[in-house]
Symmetry: C2
Subunit: 351 residues, 2 copies
DNA sequence: CTGAAAGCGCTTACAG
DNA sequence: CTGAAAGCGCTTACAG
């Protein structure tokens, strides 16, 4: 059989149907595949002109390395996991958008993993997710991010992670983004103080979560600084749901001694306050001022539109993902995101 | 060097730190790795007792095949992509939950890919996503699912897909889930007719989308069957946003000749109607009945709570993902999901 | 700065 | 029904 029809000489260029591989690039460029590999991985051990020649070729051929093959050799995939236990759809979607902002053109993809932190096996579920997929890293979203058992498991398996948490968590590794909830609540309190409110109430999320504690302390503390104590009877612990907001509002708005303003731990519960007030003929904001937290789509759609504390959710997601795909995995400075008040139509000075 | 300390004899059991591989299982079970591979892939060409023995061993060791290695050999990953261009967060999250219901314990994971169908390069973006990740399949969510160019690109690259679409799309391949929007709108119309409404109005989504057309025709057609024509002046095309709902409602509610009821193509626009009505002192439902579409969280949180058409979003996502991971890739019967009306407090007979 | 060999953990194609 | 060889497209470990 004549040697000239050897497969090697036929495959001088990759076929249109099949994608080019590292071998094609190496052969076409006249270098070893190891050199191509070095270029893919941004190794400094490549001469500049070699790098440029090969990179031009890769662009021309439209070559991108196969993440499956790279993952197998690296023993680590190019997938970022997002682990969350949060009922607020807009928050989750914003966080996903933010993460994808950072991941775009990076070769990494985002794999979603909602879970139920109250179910006993959930940590094992995350462990299997992380280990089977050989995840490059995971983003821990509130409230799952507050679970130290989850973080310990991740540290034990050696999986890198970033946590999105309020102030008050151990920051020795630096891989966290701190959401200054206290500041957001304080800004809401300042605003109400400025309007002249003195008799205010608070509907908080479950105080088992640090974020709920931070928001409560931020609000109550700001009034305390002005010498105004918010009495215990004006603070109701609810569960971040609409229904729990309704129940809390019913208590607060029952008697004659109503507060002139209510600050809610999220917009869902604020919507519950709206419902109770509307039903009772209590006019917002004339008879009652209301402030929410989250600045969810709900806030602008309620009537009157709801003043609320906006979180930088998309930015937060972007920062968290950026941390995970940094080439070096050393300690990082702790990142901070600050909430701020969006003033709409739900507050005015007390009557 | 004595032969007894050979690596092979030391590695009789996989180490605690390292996960077992197909080689460990094969050696421990006394079969070839090819036989283990057949068992992983549910090949019928394995004797029953061999299969049971090996499966027991895999459970005992806690073995799961590496999706990276399998993907490399198969030339296809174990990832399902979700491609969407939809602003409604709850809809997207529900669809993700549904897909994950189907993917749980299957070895597949869900990779999200939001995109902007109005940007010129978006189809190339999806193509790169699909090809680089060697996706097992993609779910096409409305409204991206209506884009024939997208579907054509996918067919060309050989990537399997499922589309979630209204009635009216080519179903030769069967890989679609039909969301009978027309029926949902008809049910809303029937309900208003039963309450006695005759002078009704309609705020639709962009009629460039088949789903908006279906909802419009379902509503108008049901009135037509009763001999009632909905005049063109009572039909306003908006863009599914809150703001566009506000603008449409302002037109419809301006003069003295107001309709007694308004059906909206989604809840966002219905919230816009609420805002305009509230501001104008038009009482819902006394002076005006309103129906939305989506049954989003907003519906229950508005006051009065909004009657709305519920879509089986989570079921839809589950069915779409189930289709994609079926072992056979042949033609399938077209799946159907039916919307239904959730009656709340926003409608009553006309004054 | 560059490369040849071996390996990551699976499957395909072939043989029996 | 079972298996030995080669290969998927990369990287690691070593050598130069």
């Amino acid at each position: 059989m004549p040697a000239r029809s050897s497969p090697a000489s036929q495959a001088a260029r990759p076929t249109a149907g099949k994608a080019a591989t590292i071998n094609d690039i190496a052969r076409l460029a006249g270098v070893s595949k190891k050199t191509v590999s070095r270029i893919i991985n941004n190794s400094p051990l490549v001469r500049k002109d070699t790098r440029e020649k090969v990179e031009a070729l890769m662009r021309e051929v439209g070559y991108t390395p196969d993440p499956l093959a790279r993952g197998l050799a690296f023993r680590r995939s190019f997938l970022i996991g997002m682990v969350y236990d949060n009922p607020t759809a807009q928050y989750i979607v914003d966080m996903q958008y933010g993460a994808l902002d950072a991941l775009r053109e990076s070769g990494f993809e985002l794999v979603v993993h909602p879970c139920d932190t109250r179910s006993p096996g959930y940590i094992d579920g995350v462990r299997r997710f992380v280990q089977q997929q050989k995840l490059h890293g995971v983003m821990l979203i509130p409230r799952a991010s507050e679970d130290q058992n989850l973080v310990d498991m991740l540290a034990e398996t050696g999986c890198r992670y970033t946590r999105i948490v309020p102030v008050g968590f151990d920051d020795r590794d630096g891989r966290m983004i701190v959401t200054h909830d206290r500041d957001g609540a304080a800004e809401a309190a300042d605003y109400l103080l400025t309007l002249g409110h003195r008799d205010v109430a608070l509907i908080t999320g479950p105080l088992a979560y640090r974020s709920a504690i931070e928001r409560t302390e931020g609000f109550v503390g700001t009034f305390a600084k002005r010498g105004i104590e918010v009495p215990k009877s004006r603070i109701i612990e609810a569960s971040y749901t609409f229904e729990s907001g309704v129940a809390a509002a019913e208590k607060l708005l029952a008697g004659k001694q109503r507060p002139t303003a209510i600050f809610c731990g999220n917009d869902e519960m604020a919507a519950g306050v709206y419902k109770v007030a509307m039903r009772a003929g209590i006019s917002i904001p004339r008879d009652l001022s209301v402030i929410g937290y989250d600045d969810s789509p709900l806030a602008a759609r309620l009537w009157p539109s709801l003043t609320s504390v906006r979180r930088q959710t998309r930015d937060t997601g972007r920062i968290a993902a950026t941390m995970l795909i940094r080439p070096d995995n050393g300690p990082l400075p702790v990142a901070s995101v600050r909430p701020h008040l969006i003033v709409r139509d739900s507050c005015q000075p007390p009557a």
